[in-house]
Symmetry: C2
Subunit: 233 residues, 2 copies
């Protein structure tokens, strides 16, 4: 947990962050954009998943990416090859994106493009299984990734990320034959923390399971359309 109360200013920094997240979400809603926040440990495969996602879905879904990294634009450059706008945010020493940083990303997106043209903004958070789960950025859903090389015990040891996730992607399934890995045990551990998250085993390398992930993204967008219809006059 971070220092969350600034006594001099008399403000709770998590509340300030939450207010900013709500403003970002309202802005996305006004433009008809859905936003997903992708979070995981370093190297669990967020960027590899995004590469496959952009390659498969850009013909049908208009996507922009907000790419958070402490330093470098290495990941942003990987994703720019897919012809979508990629807004790179360097967090410096910060171990997570916060709503103010993402508001800056939204501002840049709106400055360089017509934001109402987009259907989906994918936010790739800093690689960290702890802190990003505490800081909402304005997303409509949280997507956590856990690679099978990290071990079945991680949902028990890092509970907040797994409690917060709407969708959990179990990545690098292609490595299963080379590991002592127990998928049932991992799923049971996730369920102790979160009975409702969708759990999708995938491999960005072989493509296994990715159709289920693409289907999850599509249904998430359709939920948006349906709820928009539901509140229409």
């Amino acid at each position: 947990m971070h220092q969350t109360f600034d006594a001099a200013l008399g403000i709770n920094l998590l509340h300030v962050n939450q207010d900013g997240a709500d403003q970002n979400r309202t802005q996305f809603d006004q433009w008809g954009i859905r936003c997903l926040n992708l979070m995981s440990s370093p190297g669990a495969g967020k960027t590899a998943l995004l590469e496959q996602t952009l390659a498969a879905l850009t013909p049908e879904i208009k996507i922009a990416v907000i790419e958070g990294d402490m330093t470098t634009e290495l990941d942003a450059d990987r994703l720019r090859r897919y012809g979508v706008p990629v807004i790179a945010i360097n967090t410096g020493r910060s171990c997570h994106l916060d709503s103010k940083m993402v508001a800056g990303g939204i501002h840049r997106l709106a400055h360089e493009h017509n934001p109402a043209e987009f259907d989906l903004v994918l936010v790739e958070n800093v690689g960290n299984l702890v802190c990003p789960a505490e800081f909402e950025v304005g997303e409509h859903a949280k997507v956590a990734l856990l690679s099978i090389t990290e071990g079945e015990d991680k949902p028990l040891k890092y509970p907040l990320m797994f409690q917060e996730a709407d969708c959990l992607l179990i990545t690098k399934m292609d490595l299963a034959p080379h590991l002592d890995f127990d998928l049932e045990q991992l799923v049971a551990n996730v369920r102790q923390m979160n009975p409702r998250a969708d759990i999708l085993p995938v491999s960005a390398k072989t493509g296994a399971g990715l159709e289920h992930w693409f289907g999850w993204v599509r249904s998430h967008l359709h939920q948006s359309v349906n709820s928009a219809l539901a509140i229409a006059p």
Copy 2:
């Protein structure tokens, strides 16, 4: 980066942490103990490395472990099987150990044992490639682990951990045949951040490279003996 300045108290929290770390180190020195701080992403293999280390070195080196986890004593229980004292610290929502938590661990060690009997305290930090690097706990050296499944780009993207490390263990080398992994590129990326760290590729599963790690630990202890002799009257 965490909120590091408490304006109401007028104190820099990193300075307070550093003072506490210096006190812990002085205490270790008085007891003739060397302390290593092991840090990595979740699932990079800190506990597996410690299991092998305890199995190999406890006959010759008297070791205690301070085990940091947000929740659970799963890792502590794994290590207790090796017959060494394991002080478990649950950090709650905190994403790293700090010097105050480790001071509490030292206090418990001294309460339950004669601390002067020990040669080495191994601290296993919370799995996080970012925040633990900012908070010294009183260690004499920092040991970072990076598993080869995390990718060669991580030293560039998470620079502080790699800048701070005295020893970098490249773990899970047994998986190299199943990955597109370039050891030379990883080492080159580490060297951009840190020209002096010892870099040791290992596999806790096959045992490959572990003798070099055990040798590193032994030479670290001998440095301690030598410097103790050097300042003797």
